[in-house]
């Protein structure tokens, strides 16, 4: 539990998977925090000053000191509040957790963005490429309730991006990237996630989120037509 004198503030965006990761971690640890919704189309001086290098959310401000990059923030939270550990204790398992977290951000996220950004044949290629990557995650889940094993852990928090962004986007895009027949383990895992109170509390409400994704995609399309 956080001490009384501590000030924890999150510069985030309600619909951002990266920002939600940080909320999940803080909630899991029982750390009270202030959430400050940011407008990335019109960046606040506080954001620019707190993350001058990337100018991105999320940024965690702990007693005024800024930390950026969601994976770095998650580790910081785990190092600072040691109850309910997010990462395993053993160095080898820690390394494996970091490996899969990177895989989600550098491979799955990057590839899945192309599904949203492309049309026609290029999109089909991106869908196939995303599925090839997801098959590795599928394999990791065999015999486990969570990517972290018996309990929710680091990789689960990071991979909520797959469960609640990628898999929600597909409803809007109209392409089933993660069909249940092909990915039974991933679907089982999403159900397990939804049984965790912290997750339920920390993911964006579905209807509002779908509307938001739709609006964003429409505006992206408008831009590409011009």
């Amino acid at each position: 539990m956080a001490e009384r004198s501590e000030e924890v503030k999150l510069l985030g965006m309600w619909a951002s998977p990266f920002s939600r990761r940080v909320e999940i971690a803080l909630t899991l640890k029982g750390v009270p925090y202030e959430f400050s919704e940011q407008d990335i189309a019109n960046k606040s001086p506080l954001l620019l000053q707190s993350n001058p290098v990337h100018k991105m959310i999320p940024v965690l401000l702990h007693n005024g000191k800024p930390i950026s990059e969601s994976l770095v923030i998650l580790e910081y939270i785990d190092d600072t509040w040691q109850n309910n550990p997010i990462l395993p204790q053993d160095p080898y398992h820690r390394a494996m957790a970091r490996f899969w977290a990177r895989f989600v951000d550098e491979q799955i996220y990057v590839t899945a963005m192309k599904v949203v950004g492309k049309v026609g044949e290029e999109r089909d290629v991106a869908v196939e490429a995303t599925r090839d990557l997801l098959k590795l995650l599928e394999k990791e889940l065999v015999g486990k309730n969570f990517l972290g094993g018996e309990r929710l852990g680091f990789v689960d928090i990071v991979a909520t991006l797959v469960a609640f962004w990628l898999m929600r986007t597909e409803e809007v895009v109209g392409v089933k990237v993660v069909p249940v027949e092909m990915f039974p383990e991933i679907h089982r895992w999403v159900e397990n996630l939804l049984d965790v109170d912290v997750i339920k509390k920390c993911i964006p409400p579905e209807d509002e989120h779908l509307n938001y994704i739709k609006a964003r995609m429409d505006s992206l399309k408008l831009k590409s037509v011009q």
Binding site: V53, H62, K65, I67, S68, E69, L71, V72, I73, E75, Y76, D79, T80, P91, Y92, R94, A95, R98, F99, R102, F103, L136
Partner: protein
């Protein structure tokens, strides 16, 4: 100690150098196994089935991939001497942030310089200088990125120094003229045995690039 430590690497790789430097800093004996990336060995494919890239550290039969993850693993497994990441959570987060910055920003432009043509080289150079200046600002007047002691961010970046000569020749510029503090820092790092042992000669890298491009089918 019955530890068996194997490193799969490739001599010009700055990612491989990271793992070597970390092992040297900790005085860990290891079996170095040079890999042919154009004809990948069974052991590489088996130990890194996801990326099939070096470096891979195999510790008592267990493989660890991704150079920064390897360096952190080494630090956590052999915590005794020469701590590479600071213990203070905030300093630790800063070190991880900068190492991640190097991973995100340095590879793109430097690859344009050695593998690109004409305008690509120019664009790569321009972007690389910007990245170097950001890093130089972060370094400031400190001895190393983390302050007084050599550590994680230094390890993440120093391998690129062995390619500086090649970048300068290919893109006709002087890194020292742009960022003198970065060069002074690199020279300080090279005084450490761990670094001197792990970095190849700049000359050797520069001479190897045409061959590398040929093997990659560019040029």
């Amino acid at each position: 100690m019955a530890d068996e430590v194997i490193l799969l690497s490739y001599w010009p790789s700055m990612f491989g150098m990271r793992a070597m430097i970390a092992l040297e800093e900790k005085n860990i004996k290891f079996d170095y196994r040079e890999q042919d990336l154009f004809n990948k060995s069974q052991i590489l494919i088996e130990t890194n089935p996801v990326h099939k890239k070096i470096p891979v550290l195999i510790h008592n039969g267990k493989p660890i991939c991704e150079s920064l993850i390897v360096v952190e693993y080494i630090d956590e497994t052999w915590p005794g001497e020469n701590q590479l990441l600071p213990s203070d959570p905030y300093q630790r987060a800063q070190a991880k942030f900068w190492a991640d910055y190097i991973d995100k920003k340095v590879n793109g432009p430097t690859r344009l310089i050695w593998a690109g043509k004409g305008e690509e080289i120019e664009a790569g150079k321009k972007e690389f200088i910007e990245v170097l200046k950001t890093l130089e600002t972060e370094l400031g007047d400190k001895t190393y990125f983390g302050g007084e002691t050599f550590g994680f961010v230094d390890i993440a970046f120093i391998g690129f120094y062995s390619w500086f000569d090649a970048y300068e020749k290919l893109a006709s510029f002087s890194i020292e003229a742009e960022c003198p503090k970065v060069i002074a820092w690199a020279k300080r790092c090279l005084k450490r045995e761990s670094v001197a042992k792990s970095l190849p000669d700049s000359d050797k890298v520069t001479k190897y690039i045409p061959e590398l491009k040929k093997r990659l089918g560019i040029e």
